[in-house]
Symmetry: C2
Subunit: 153 residues, 2 copies
């Protein structure tokens, strides 16, 4: 945890930005809720619990900055809000997501499933891929279970 904050601090410094208290609070919220795909508002509310004087605009500015430095990825699941996702250490490729259309749960696939597909696209379409977004929408394990139970009643 601490060393991840340290690492981000260095990343900011090497781009001549400072890790201000507000930025640090924001980063910590992201680290503490790594699994949660928080929206800017979510982050704001969480940061506010510990640093009530922070402003929403600052959170937005920090998230934008972190996105620029590729410390977080800005994602969109189609619900009209941007969400922010910490990059895994040293991950060359953005991970994939499974979004449950029943309960809204989001889980992650860290494994890169697209090696072969990317190679094909680069060749066949003569397109140089920089990054990709892959989101599966469907029904998660839990909701499948629940449906079974309902059916049996």
């Amino acid at each position: 945890m601490e060393n991840r904050v340290e690492r981000i601090k260095k990343q900011l410094h090497s781009a001549s930005y400072k890790l201000t208290p507000q930025r640090e609070a924001t980063v910590r919220v992201l680290l503490e809720n790594e699994e949660d795909h928080l929206s800017a508002e979510d982050v704001y509310l969480l940061v506010k619990e510990k640093s009530p004087e922070i402003g929403l605009a600052t959170v937005y500015r920090t998230l934008e900055l972190l996105t620029e430095l590729k410390i977080v990825d800005k994602i969109n699941f189609g619900d009209g809000v941007s969400r922010y996702d910490l990059r895994k250490e040293g991950a060359a490729h953005f991970h994939h997501h499974l979004v449950c259309i029943e309960c809204g749960a989001v889980s992650e696939i860290l494994e890169d499933l697209l090696k072969d597909v990317e190679q094909k696209v680069e060749q066949d379409w003569n397109f140089e891929i920089k990054y990709h977004r892959l989101i599966f929408h469907g029904i998660c394990e839990n909701c499948k279970e629940n449906e079974k139970i309902i059916d049996e009643e």
Copy 2:
């Protein structure tokens, strides 16, 4: 063209909606600009050329309706606007997109590249996939050409 309008008319009717003149004008714009990934505003302006009395809200409502009926897909390339894409006839799976980060051009991959990947995800994560979104961001053929020319100067 005409038969595609007819088909959509039937789809609406079977869900007890009417193909009003405004809806038809909207559908025609989508058909005429099938390659273009239009935003609601884009559609509105194009519809307005032929039916100046139409309102923006009607276009939004029509696009929402068409999305519900799965006649179009609502997509988001991360530029803060929703775009609408006619489904290909009988396409079981939503097609993939290549978005150029230089010039913004969007092209489509109709071929389904994810058969194997989906099978793996369904098995390994016990997740029932309903649909997916796959977007590659990178540099398109043209922009790669242009870069070469610039380098050579």
